[in-house]
Structures are given as structure tokens and as C-alpha cells.
Amino acid sequence: MLELKGVTVVVPVDFSEACTTALSGPLTDSSADNIRLVHVVQPAVYPAAGDVVVAAGPEAERMNAAREQFERYLKEQNWPSYPTEVLTGDPGTEVVAFADRIDADLIMVPSHGFHGWKRLVLGSVAERIVRLANCPVLVLRRGDAE
């Protein structure tokens, strides 16, 4: 069984059912006491070099919407209350950068654990995090929660 007492853990959350299933066990039974839940909003448009970003408004709106969604999502879960963070950018890069900023011991990534194309598509963020991380990464399987 997994124990996370005293470990500073960054956990990316995408609100999907698979993510919820994978995280429920580790977040409730692991004596975790220093978890930071992170959701990354992908920007609608990636500005290219030389582009002028005119309107920052829509981005801020989307961030706010994500914060509200995060709140609603957490209310539905039976998890202990953990601090949350909403970031914007490339999910892999942002999660790793956030872990660096708070000097995290660990990034815990829910892997969707499906076979076939779903795994390939949904697991790409997990793989990117494993590649980029400067700290250990725990890739969870769905089976952990079952």
C-alpha cells in the first residue's frame, strides 16, 4: 500500500472519470498530508514569436471557469481538502514547472491504464511529465483504486 505522509506531492487533475478513479485510493488512504492538486488549462491559441497578444480577457475567463469547475469537481469527491492551483499552458511543462517552484518531492500522475488508442492519447501528458520532471514521478494505475 502507498503511503505519502510528509511527502510534498503535485497531482495533475483533468476531471476525467479515469483520473478520479485512479486518484481516489491514493488521495484518501495514503496518509497524504501535503498534496497540491493542479489543473492546467490549455490556451486556446498559442501565440507565435512576434505575435501581439491583444486580449488577455478570454484567457482569464477560462481560468476562472476552470477554478469554478475545480471547486464543483472536488465537492463531488469524497477526498480530504487539498489546496488547488489552476495554471495555463502546456500541461506537461506547467505541472513540472509548478513542482519545481514549490520544491515538490513527487509528481503523482494518474495514468488511464486503458489499452489501445485511449492509453496512447490520454497517457501523453503522463509521459511528458515523466520525461520532463526533475523529481521522482509516480505513475498510478486504475487498479490502485479498485
Binding site: 502507498l2 503511503e3 513527487l106 503523482m108 497517457g123 509521459e127 523529481c135 521522482p136 509516480l138 490502485d144
Partner: protein, 147 residues
């Protein structure tokens, strides 16, 4: 990861499987991790590539017993370098990724713990091909140490 700060690793109460390849980077990654972590039942596994796969009809089969003995001796010499003595040291033959996952299932391990970069990975990619295969295929949690 800065070396000046004390690392904190997740604990697993059940068995964990650690694939090793005898490379210096693998040892350097594992030493501090094993010293810090509380993993009560560590299984170290080395998967040797099986020459039996190259066997052709009519040729003598390579002495599997001798090969296994050589790998076991490597393991016996290497394991004392670790700060924690494993519950088991195992040699398997075949595809490294598959054998590690198979062994983890046999002992119902809590997790597979991979030192991310070993003998086969390009240094620039920071993650070995065997590690990557394990992450993709494993049916249980995988802790990637990232040297």
C-alpha cells in the same frame, strides 16, 4: 533534483520490484533512494537478453544454466553495493520490460521502481527505453526515480 535537499519518497508497505542493469548511473540513482525510502520488501531483478532467441535448428543450444549462473554472480557481486539488502535478487531472461512486469505480478508488488536512465537510454532523452516500456505496459504503479 538538487542533491542538497533531503529527498522524500513515497513508501510502499508491500513488495516493490526494482529492475537493475549494473550500470553506474543505475547504482547512483538507487543508492540515495534506498537509503531514504522505507520499502520493507525490495526485490531486485536483472533481465538478461536471452541468446536462446537466436537459436537455430541444428546448432547446439547455448548453456542456459551457465548463462544464468554468470548473471547470478554479477547480481551477487553488485547487490552488496546497495545500502539496503533486498529480500530477493532475481535473474530472468527475455524481454526486459515484459519480464519485470511479469515478476511484479507474480509477487503482487505494490509498485515497480525504475531508475529512469540506464544502459539503453540516450542520455539526452533522460529516460531509458526499458523504463519507458515498463511505464507503458505495467498493470501496477510505477515510480520513476529520475536521476
Amino acid at each position: 533534483m538538487p542533491n542538497d535537499t533531503q529527498m522524500k519518497l513515497p513508501n510502499f508497505t508491500g513488495p516493490v520490484v526494482i529492475p537493475i542493469d549494473f550500470s553506474p548511473v543505475c547504482l547512483e540513482t538507487l543508492k540515495p533512494a534506498l537509503a531514504e525510502a522505507s520499502w520493507p520488501e525490495v526485490h531486485v531483478i536483472h533481465v538478461a537478453r536471452s541468446d536462446a532467441l537466436d537459436w537455430e535448428p541444428g546448432t547446439a543450444i547455448a548453456d542456459a544454466g551457465a548463462a544464468s549462473g554468470t548473471a547470478a554472480k554479477w547480481l551477487a557481486d553488485w547487490v552488496p553495493n546497495l545500502p539496503v539488502q533486498p529480500a530477493a535478487s532475481v535473474v530472468r531472461f527475455g524481454d526486459a520490460g515484459r519480464e519485470v512486469i511479469q515478476y511484479a505480478a507474480e509477487i503482487d508488488a505494490d509498485a515497480i521502481i525504475v531508475p529512469s536512465r540506464g544502459r539503453t537510454g540516450l542520455e539526452a532523452l533522460r529516460i531509458g527505453s526499458v523504463a519507458e516500456r515498463i511505464i507503458r505496459l505495467a498493470d501496477r504503479s510505477v515510480l520513476v526515480l529520475n536521476s
